[in-house]
């Protein structure tokens, strides 16, 4: 009993001391240099679904990381500083991301976050990053909110062409081509799918109600069986199939359409555009007839199309980088997420170079939001300009339509610029 009392006294003293010391630590510390930048390193951070059902998106981080390593090892880094890329796992669950964001900012003391993946996961921490004035740069999602909400959230920026714009591009093409009057839409029941549907509707204008015969949805973790959705759309008399679904569901939907004798014109969203996916579908179907003519869009070069891009310097660079630093990314380009990862990493490196020695978060953000003008991205389609201005906060806005032929995509038409409405 006596020992117990003594112990309690010791603990109380310790506690008071801790409180006294700790109280001085509360509150923000004014710093002269932004955290995450030293003489020889710049630390970038990101949250990704490294585990869980969305973990196939992790390839984006792998592609980006491979490019950073290439820059570090063969280009002397960025203005003499090596890039350290810290990727933490939020399992695509927005309940996990706030803690991870604080981990990156407070513990890993990252200079900025780059390429965070997912719409709800980024929404969950948008307030935090903006309050902390930590850039939430080039988030990897096709939602349009990042550019649209820029004035309220000036520290957040997207990169890839957004889904709504892509939907409008398809709508425009549909109205210009013949025999595509009746559209059946399959979309994932979340913002990604709805953005595509809304883009289509917006692009069709007042013809939308007449042209869209029926819609069908599914939830992200449903069994991959789109047969009832496909049957429903087929029964509605549609002769065009607009698919806003992720790769597994999209492939299943198209396979089901072919197997059920439905021969619509197919429009495939870019997220599920990877050649590897459709080669697999063609193989499973035994013939490419059902998939030939499917239309999608792309903003990237396709290394799998060796006939077209085999000698392209940018694609060669991709292959080199993935071979040497690939982290598991296939140099042939079978995993399209590796490609987009490297493409956006190129922009990131360019941006850091542009910032020179004024490596403050504010300066980098000012450049990113309003002064990007990159014309030499190795993996974006030729002629693409990664551009932001004071009024335009959507960096990549150019896409090209492509048509599936047997085992690869054939781009056609001009590279469309969504900026020119």
């Amino acid at each position: 009993m006596i020992g117990f009392k003594r112990l309690a006294a010791v603990l109380a003293t310790l506690a008071l001391t801790a409180v006294a010391c700790g109280a001085q630590q509360s509150g923000s510390q004014a710093t002269k240099t932004d955290p995450g930048v030293t003489q020889d390193t710049i630390t970038l951070g990101a949250t990704y679904p490294v585990s869980g059902t969305a973990s196939f998106y992790y390839s984006v981080a792998k592609g980006a990381g491979a490019y950073f390593e290439y820059i570090n090892n063969e280009k002397g880094g960025v203005n003499g500083r090596k890039i350290k890329y810290i990727v933490v796992d939020d399992a695509y669950t927005p309940a996990n991301t706030p803690a991870k964001a604080r981990e990156l900012v407070q513990q890993d003391k990252v200079f900025l976050t780059y390429g965070n993946l997912g719409t709800p996961t980024n929404l969950a921490v948008r307030d935090y990053y903006n309050q902390q004035k930590v850039p939430q740069l080039f988030v990897f999602t096709g939602s349009s909110v990042w550019g649209a909400d820029y004035s309220k959230y000036p520290w957040t920026l997207g990169w890839q062409p957004d889904y709504v714009t892509e939907g409008k591009i398809y709508a425009r093409y549909i109205t210009q081509s013949e025999a595509s009057d009746k559209i059946g839409v399959l979309y994932q029941n979340d913002q990604y799918g709805k953005d595509y549907l809304n883009g289509l509707r917006a692009g069709l204008g007042d013809k939308a109600a007449a042209m869209i015969t029926d819609t069908a949805t599914y939830n992200a973790n449903d069994p991959v069986d789109m047969s009832s959705q496909v049957n429903k759309l087929k029964a509605s008399g549609a002769n065009t199939f607009y698919v806003a679904a992720t790769p597994a569901y999209a492939a299943n939907a198209v396979t089901n359409a072919v197997k059920n004798g439905w021969k619509p014109k197919i429009y495939m969203n870019n997220v599920s555009g990877a050649s590897a996916t459709w080669r697999g579908v063609v193989k499973g179907l035994g013939a490419s007839a059902g998939v030939d003519g499917m239309i999608s869009s792309t903003y990237l070069k396709d290394p799998l199309d060796t006939a077209k891009w085999g000698n392209n310097a940018g694609v060669k660079l991709f292959r080199d980088v993935m071979t040497r630093y690939g982290n598991g990314c296939d140099p042939s380009g079978a995993d399209s997420f590796c490609i987009s990862g490297m493409a956006s990493a190129f922009t990131m490196v360019n941006l850091l170079r542009q910032a020179g020695n004024d490596l403050t978060r504010k300066h980098v953000m000012d450049l990113a939001c309003c002064a990007l003008n990159e014309t030499d991205n190795p993996l974006l389609l030729p002629g693409t300009v990664v551009k932001t201005t004071k009024t335009d906060h959507f960096p990549v806005q150019q896409e090209q339509l492509q048509r599936w032929e047997q085992d690869h995509w054939v781009p056609f038409g001009p590279v469309l610029d969504a900026r020119k409405k």
């Binding site: 585990s51 973990s55 196939f56 047969s227 009832s228 597994a248 697999g280």
Partner: protein
């Protein structure tokens, strides 16, 4: 007239597609039933074990260039062995433990198997070929995929094998006895623990078949069986969680109901998983033994 015909045709098409999907749920449900018969436990890791076996098959086909049939058979044997090893290493230490412990054990197993698959093969989707051609035949205007017929056929064959095994073989009888009356069986010389290992091996083998049927439809990746698991449970519960035949019937019913609910109920497409919940709860409340299960008396 024409409208009615097309409505009927559309309905029939949904039913046919539903049966095909149901065969998938049935094939995994069979494995679940086998484990449950052996030890009264719902194996939450069954789908992951099936997935792992499918990856093994994938490796055999793509890396060792074995022909499909050989890889198929080899995978089943390897899966059987794997199931036995899992039972010995992971389940046996917890023999006699309360239900909750066993639930946690199977959840831990889920984690381990899923992580192992991700570590070895990564999370990028892979294509896995079906042994059946992808054509369809038309029956009265309704398209029936040959692949789907193949899945149904394989499921029925597996069911027949399992059923005959339990009904007509000595070993099967011994397994049933060991599960129902462990004490008496032991007294009669049945090696009950060996029966348990056999049960797990069998379940793993059946699960492997299920995985290899599923993989061509969805892509092969470590998470591919998770959406199937809930409906496999629903099928098993509906059919009678101790009845292999029941689980297949349950699977078909679940598949068809899902297709119909998805088509004819407004918003039904988004409520598949909640529908699975409803099936499970409704059956457990109103007819816990399922369609073909025995009505159990609780001995006081």
């Amino acid at each position: 007239m024409l409208l009615a015909a097309s409505v009927i045709q559309s309905f029939a098409q949904q039913v046919v597609s539903g049966v095909a999907a149901g065969a998938i749920y049935a094939s995994l449900a069979l494995a679940l039933v086998l484990i449950y018969r052996a030890m009264d436990v719902a194996n939450f890791a069954q789908g992951e074990m099936a997935m792992f076996a499918t990856f093994v098959a994938y490796t055999l086909i793509t890396q060792f260039h074995l022909p499909y049939l050989l890889a198929f058979v080899l995978t089943i044997l390897l899966a059987f062995a794997g199931g036995v090893i899992v039972e010995r290493a992971v389940v046996r230490p917890f023999e006699g433990a309360p239900v909750l412990t066993l639930v946690i054990v199977t959840l831990a197993l889920f984690s381990i198997v899923n992580g192992l698959a991700g570590l070895i093969w990564g999370y990028v989707f892979k294509t896995f070929d079906s042994p059946f051609p992808a054509r369809s035949i038309q029956v009265a205007g309704v398209f029936v995929g040959i692949q789907d017929l193949g899945v149904i056929a394989v499921t029925l064959v597996v069911l027949a094998v399992v059923f005959s095994f339990f009904r007509y073989t000595r070993l099967g009888l011994a397994m049933r006895a060991a599960a129902l009356y462990p004490e008496s069986s032991r007294l009669l010389g049945v090696r009950t623990s060996r029966m348990l290992a056999l049960g797990w091996g069998l379940a793993a083998a059946v699960g492997a078949v299920s995985g290899m049927m599923v993989a061509p439809i969805v892509f092969l990746d470590p998470n591919m069986m998770q959406p199937v698991l809930l409906f496999a449970f629903a099928a098993a519960v509906l059919g009678g969680i101790e009845s292999p035949v029941g689980s297949v019937i349950g699977g078909v019913i679940v598949g068809v109901l899902l297709a119909l609910v998805g088509t004819y109920l407004p918003g039904g497409q988004n409520l598949r998983i909640p529908f699975g919940l409803i099936v499970i709860v409704a059956v457990l409340l109103f007819r816990p033994a399922g369609l073909l299960g025995r009505r159990e008396m609780k001995r006081v």
